[in-house]
Symmetry: C2
Subunit: 451 residues, 2 copies
Amino acid sequence: MATREDTLLEHVDYWLSELAEDREPAVDWLEGLSEADIAFALECLPFEQRLTIWQTVPPELRGAVLVELHDEHRRSLLKAAPPDALLQWLGKTHPEDLLELMDDLPGQLGRKVLHRMDSEDREQLKNALGYDDDQVGRWLSFKVITAEASTPGRLFRKALRETGIPEMTDVIVLLDDDGRFQGCLSLDAAMQTPSTSPLSDFVDDELTPLNPASSLHEAAQRLRAAGRAMLPVVDETGTVMGRFTSRDALDVMLEEKERQMMQLSSGLDEEDLFSPVRRAVPKRGLWLGINLITALLAAWVIGLFELALSQWVALAVMMPVVASMGGIAGSQTLGLAIRGLATGQLGAANVRNLIRKELILGTINAFFWAIAIGLIAAWWFDSWMLMGIIAFAVLVNIIAASLAGVIVPWVLSRMNIDPAIAGSVVLTTVTDVVGFFAFLGTATVALSLAG
Amino acid sequence: MATREDTLLEHVDYWLSELAEDREPAVDWLEGLSEADIAFALECLPFEQRLTIWQTVPPELRGAVLVELHDEHRRSLLKAAPPDALLQWLGKTHPEDLLELMDDLPGQLGRKVLHRMDSEDREQLKNALGYDDDQVGRWLSFKVITAEASTPGRLFRKALRETGIPEMTDVIVLLDDDGRFQGCLSLDAAMQTPSTSPLSDFVDDELTPLNPASSLHEAAQRLRAAGRAMLPVVDETGTVMGRFTSRDALDVMLEEKERQMMQLSSGLDEEDLFSPVRRAVPKRGLWLGINLITALLAAWVIGLFELALSQWVALAVMMPVVASMGGIAGSQTLGLAIRGLATGQLGAANVRNLIRKELILGTINAFFWAIAIGLIAAWWFDSWMLMGIIAFAVLVNIIAASLAGVIVPWVLSRMNIDPAIAGSVVLTTVTDVVGFFAFLGTATVALSLAG
């Protein structure tokens, strides 16, 4: 069965082959594709071709497609469009979508767009724009059902018939006489409220609203714990700003997951599959530069033992094995610690317990692999002295790595540095330096004793 | 402001200090904690202490707490409990929760629990148990509102008053005369259906049900695209098995995210923060063993050039720099490719384009860093020959790494091996081997020409 992704990649294939032969692809490809589908397919295209295909997207869809794109892609397309054209299609874009685009609009364009809106929409948007990109206040949708707290059940239901029930609605928001937030009740309770009783009789105190200043991650967790499809977002003055739905929460999680995939496997924060070369080179170069510094540090440690290395070439051969066993053992502990810190399950209360456990685990593994590697080295280079030296170095390095695997991310997180990004570079530096020191240092001592 | 995590970690702290002094912690700690909270706090405890605290959880809550635990934790607690006690608290557990626990129950216990249920629940459960752990059929919840397609609006609303509207309900499922799935309509449409018109007049064909055999990931994506709080799950015979909600989808995403965090940073699939040592040692050992093989391969390559190494110790010093620059450059490309493969945006249609782009990018970066490292080496070891050799090796290795960064995950995914797990080990092996060959091989040639 062809998945949605496969079908969309077929579109991409068709475009690429048409464009390769200098033909304009037929425009009817859009039929049957949702905004999300179009965005997905655009992201699969190399940058130049993406711009060409983007021109064929009808202007009234462009705002909605931009919302579905990842930040990097969105910015590059916005940059490529002439401001007049931009203003035209943004005029046709839904306020909720505009909210997401606002930050990426070039120059004064955002202000101009706001100016053209009707005053109610503008107020809502301005309010939301006061919050950061990673706060709930910024990710609102506006379809909340509100009612005065004193509304009797029958009247509420009559009104509901007229306004309709938006998707993802299972919570109703009650307002006091001043139009401020008073409480929530479930849609079910509102439907069951006796005809003449006020809705406020059935307020559910467990349905607490979200604070617009709370982080997206926190809001997604709160919503998940509440087990509801939505929660209202209410600011300090009691104004109901909008709602945060479990679809929003899903988007947040998906985005976090994709970003995490990039960070953990490459150290890059976010990068477009086909970002323009001039933008990708400096981004990647930075990380290569940081790595060069740590690699030179390791090289400097090796350089301290030039004498031993020149006397015994087996040291140069086996040296990467010592470093890499430490690196892997450390990264296993690191993975556990990074996850624990991210979920909040690792804290001051139990970090000592984790260190203790990892130390025991590391020591057991260290003994086993020290002996195994020692035997291999003894057989390969026919030297019992090498066996002793490398076994000792592996033992020290794996134990040190198990310690560093908890301590490095712990210290980084105390310094407010995300251990998921920097943890593995720092850890590798530790295991390289400790490994080379233990191995070449012991060898130097052994050689001077033997000689 | 103290987050939920902080508060729960305070509980953990209290337990640990009481247990350390051989006191039984007061049992009233449970007050105000949800099942999810209890599960969270239990996971923060070292294994021995976790067992002790687990005994204080009231039996009627245990099933629900187990559901909230991660697989590893759950299994270890289930294993530790005597079967009779287990059977007792499982009898008090909700069928939906049982569905999730069933796979982890030891021996014949699952069958016994099923046997004790009433026949309707049993049928539902048996049906769901026919699906795999990662299929929607297995992650059902049962609170779906169904109605006969011919039900007039008024009658439907009357019935709804009696049954109530469960949370996360914005879709109503219609059944034909035989009780088979006929179609869906939105809750809104059902509430607006004229008193005497049948609900079937307002079926929404865009609300297509989920197939119980589809993967959780796919289902979460489908639900997200539909923008609804739930979709019904309907099997091939047209039986409405239950529903999949956006809360379920959130759970799926969260679990995927946590697993990914472990895999990408450590190569471990899943491991408990405080798993018992005897279970963790072999798991980690396997990965260390695989790494040892690749490290020995790299060592073997180095060993081929013993002569050059013994003549010129600077080679041993700079050798890790060459390998590590290739490793980082490769992992940047790898990160991009892994994400593209995971989101489905990288496929046969555009993999060639990605290779081309990465090759251009890699070559630009390679030239820059080759010159930089060459200059550093020339200054450090006062040798223009070393500069030429190392610059050439860095150039070759970074370019090769950029190629391998796409090709390795691509080939792995074609072989149905998850590139997120194996990609980085294979890639590092490639960059080590290529780096050592290019550096030491060129040096050998240069030395023999110079000598």
